[in-house]
Amino acid sequence: MTQHIYLTILLPLLGFLVNGIFGPKIKNEKLIGIIGSGSIGLSFIISVISFFETLNLPVDKRQTIVTLFPWINVGNLNINFSYQVDQLSLVMALLVTGVGFIIHVYSIGYMHGDKAFWRFFSYLNLFIFAMMNLILADNFVLLFLGWEGVGLCSYLLIGFWYDRKFEKSTTADAGKKAFIVNRIGDFGFLVGMFLIFMTFGSLNFNDVFNRASIFNVSEGVFSLIAISLFIGATGKSAQIPLFVWLPDAMAGPTPVSALIHAATMVTAGVYMVARCSVLFASAPAVLIVVAVIGILTAIVAASIGLVQNDIKKVLAYSTISQLGYMFLGLGAGAFGAGIFHVMTHAFFKALLFLGAGSVIHAMHEEQDIQRYGGLKKFMPVTSKTFIIAALAISGIPPLSGFFSKDEILWYTYANGLWFLWVIGVITAMLTAFYMFRLYTLTFEGKSRFGSDKHPHESPKVMTIPLIILAVLSVIGGLIGIPEIFSGEHGNRFHNWLSPIFKQAERKMIIFGTHSHFEEIALMTISVVGAAAAIWFARHIYLNRPSIAENLSRKFRLTYNLLLNKYFVDEAYDYTIVNPIVKGSTSFLWKIADNKIIDGTVNGLAKVVAIISVYSRKLQTGLAQFYAIIMVLGITLALFWIILSR
């Protein structure tokens, strides 16, 4: 099956074509859904078979290149239309097709009754097609094809409900914003590609990476290449300063947010950096930049997440923050840990989004968590799976998020970046806090919605995907149990991926040695921190309102007692929560996000538009004026001829 890996790409394309061309004619939603998700399901099965085939091969033979046909041949540039099956691309392929399949199935229920049901499924299939191209490519050009393709699908799907209003503008504007921001990233990526071609004379992964470890290239060139590629990654993976598009991208249907803007596409940047690990490892300065940008993104996004009231926005900022973690891992040189977090994050974040979708579905498109509350009794499955995901993202052992997040933090510390470790732990606490604020406000406490809403549990076609993802979120981390717990087997996930990063690790400074005690101590700190944050969040959002309202009237004595406790809360509020909340709303969200970064992006576009408006006036419509311009050009050219000799 490994030789036929291209089927995993062709099947989604086929699904796209069938649904895209015949979709309007097929009136049957079920059939469209089956075609759409069936093609992805088959791809997933093929990926699984390929995975086991590869697993049975000896470690040094696990890379298979499947060449379809020669593609570009100009001079010394030879690029084939060929796919590379190895440990890294298999992990990603399993993830994309697996999670993709689950979300496709979920969408059958979620998009039920939409007037453009067929269009939605054809776009989703097109997305999987492009994404598979991206991760299975064996060269930069093919990767870029997928890179642009996923961007395009994301753009189409954000604006899917183009007739709906989204905040102040339309969803189409949100789509456009995503596209413009992504083009800045793409520019960086293209520049990086050119530099690679100039330096190594090839765009093939194997050639480039082998030459990168052999060729005598100065660190400056490596830094230039790495920083260009990283700019590309910041665009796609929503890192500072290009993260602004992702919250707006939530204008799309929720399954899209789950699949594209949480689980798969946004991790393309992480994948690309991991794939190019050799290049990054050769530029240690850039690695530090990657780590710093990553952790800054993580904490900024997490603090913004504290105050959002839109359920999908909270999750969007949480995604940005988790992506920041992944880049922190990459920057710390722990490429395997970064990919590990990509995987676990895909499970629990997809689950969170699908759960949110289920809630939104039940609440008739209401997205404000202040108008939820007490949904637990109406939606048992959704609430249970949601809490699993929330625990996983908060890093509570032994759920999946714990292992991946802790591995990243440990490597950060072990690599001497202890300061970043501190911020990382704070971020983890913030994460736990806002996740449980979200959970508590949504599912617990009293209902705060009107009587016109009748929440109900979603149909099976939506809940079963939730359950599957919940199981994955629980056990997904077990394949990456760190060495100190698993004994002589070591970290299985790591061992599986290590051949990919061998070249990179050879280039980097070996990690300092640290004792197991340190590792366990750090782990304990972060777990305790997260647990405290969870307790704190539940305390504020669950207990405080009820204490304030009910007990104050009934038991005046107890009330005074509790009032003191309340003072503690108040103190917390004033000293910690309020400054963060205020700072986060007034500066980080409003100014940093909306003014500075939006302003720069829009400003550049505006400047170009203004230049455009003025320079079109040059076209006066007078033929003789045109002739004068021509003659002017001729004079200049003649001067050039005269002076050049």
């Binding site: 570009i72 041949n73 100039m198 408006v613 076209q619 004026f625």
Partner: protein, 475 residues
């Protein structure tokens, strides 16, 4: 002179088209229903000539005492012209009735212009280039102003004619200087003598004036000013032909004259000029296109910026650049013809529905047209895997190879800007509701033409390797 049947065999594409013109005139004279017959005849002529050019691509020879080359890239160009004209003919079938130029003569002039293009591509002597250029240009002037009742067409054809003739003046003067200093008009002899002539300023001035004339024809900055007005005023399908066939023919002539000169050690002689032209065309075209409201004007500015991308290949001056230009021209011809074809379908009676706003909500009313136009727009903006992407890639790589990395960077920057206005159309079609009711005209032939272009665009995007190998093998 033609010496044998073999020689006759080599010029069959030319014979087909010129025979077509003569037969068309006779048909036009004696037939009442000449429009339909001439449509069928044109389809036949262009199809046969185009396919035969590709079939006989290996018949490389030099005929007429070193005047005309056949085979190789000459035939590749001939293929581009003829298939381009084939698509234009399909698009015209119903368009010219709507536009009000439903005459048989239309097809005669169309065939004449293609004959001119083919002569330019095959030229081995300045005579042929000149005659071919004028045959094409004069046909174009007529095509632009075909419906004399329409004021826009009058104005477009007058501007095109005056400025075109003005440029011709410079070309003739340039040829005069080249002839006087090199003592020949034969390209091959010129190539041989070129190294001794590089010190001769008068010769260089002659080449420069010649080049300026052709810079006008390819619509590059600063000789681009006629383009938006002429494209806007001309019949839409004809504007499509100007921007594709006309541009391709002018590039073929530049390649014929200069490629030979470039390949020597003095290849970099005109590079500064070409860099200037190329960089400014790209930037100017992309920036001004942003503020256009008329789709034909927008496509005109896009055509200017594409002339810039193509000129990168000229500035690179290596065989990769030449191969890149030819590939790019093929890709550009088909995608631009497709775009103009859809504009022609959307256009209403009396040149209405040409504003960009008319495209709002097209995806709802006519998903097929919207999807096709999106393909062309993606291809024009250089998004893979369509043909336009590879065209740009080949010329950019050629530029990098000859050390013009920054020019390639300007190219990338300009294509980043250009995405904005191409995708604006896509956004309008998919994400906006229609303002007014715009019903595309029903034209089976037009749809065939557009679909054919789309197929060629996708094919060139998926299998660029084989075509580029074919082109490179003749360099």
């Amino acid at each position: 002179m033609l010496n044998s049947l073999q020689d006759l065999y080599h010029i069959i594409p030319l014979l087909i088209v010129s025979g077509g013109i003569l037969v068309s005139i006779i048909v036009e004279m004696y037939s009442k229903d000449s429009e339909k017959i001439l449509f069928a005849l044109s389809i036949l002529v262009f199809g046969a000539a185009g396919l035969f050019s590709l079939y006989s691509v290996n018949n490389v020879s030099i005929l007429f005492n070193g005047m005309l080359a056949t085979g190789g890239n000459v035939n590749v160009f001939s293929f581009i012209f003829n298939i381009g004209a084939f698509i234009v003919t399909l698009l015209s079938a119903d368009y010219i009735r709507k536009y009000g130029t439903y005459y048989g003569e239309y097809y005669i002039i169309l065939q004449s212009s293609v004959l001119g293009m083919m002569l330019m591509a095959g030229a081995k002597d300045l005579f042929i280039i000149f005659i071919g250029l004028e045959l094409m240009s004069i046909s174009f002037y007529v095509l632009a102003g075909l419906n004399r009742k329409r004021y826009n067409a009058n104005e477009a054809s007058l501007k095109y004619f005056l400025l075109g003739a003005f440029a011709t003046g410079f070309i003739v003067y340039g040829i005069g200087l080249i002839y006087g200093t090199a003592q020949t008009t034969s390209i091959d002899i010129l190539t041989v003598r070129f190294p001794q002539l590089t010190g001769n300023l008068l010769f260089l001035a002659g080449v420069l004036l010649f080049l300026v004339g052709f810079t006008f024809k390819i619509a590059a900055f600063p000789f681009h000013m006629w383009v938006p007005d002429v494209y806007q005023g001309s019949p839409t399908v004809v504007a499509g032909l100007f921007s594709t066939g006309g541009k391709a023919a002018a590039f073929s002539a530049i390649l014929v004259t200069l490629a030979a000169l470039f390949n020597g050690n003095v290849g970099s002689l005109f590079t500064p000029y070409l860099i200037f032209v190329s960089a400014l065309s790209m930037i100017y075209g992309s920036i001004v296109a942003i503020s256009q409201d008329d789709i034909k004007r927008m496509l005109a500015y896009s055509s200017i910026s594409h002339a810039g991308y193509l000129a990168i290949g000229l500035a690179a001056g290596n065989s990769e650049g030449t191969a890149g230009i030819i590939f790019y021209l093929a890709a550009y011809s088909f995608m631009n013809l497709g775009a103009f074809g859809i504009v022609a379908l959307i256009e209403g009676e009396n040149e209405t529905n040409l504003s960009i706003a008319s495209y709002a909500g097209l995806a709802k009313r006519n998903p097929a047209l919207a999807a096709l136009l999106s393909i062309f727009m993606f291809s024009l903006s250089g998004i893979p895997p369509f043909a336009g992407f590879f065209g740009k890639y080949y010329v950019f790589f050629a530029a990098i190879k000859s050390g013009l990395t920054w020019l390639a960077l300007i190219g990338i920057l300009s294509s980043v800007i250009s995405v904005y206005f191409y995708l604006r159309i896509v956004v309008l079609m998919y994400f906006k509701d229609q303002g007014e009711e715009v019903i595309p005209s029903k034209s089976a032939m037009g749809m065939v033409g557009v679909v054919l272009s789309a197929i060629l665009v996708v094919l060139l995007g998926v299998f660029p390797g084989s075509i580029i190998n074919l082109i490179s093998s003749f360099l």
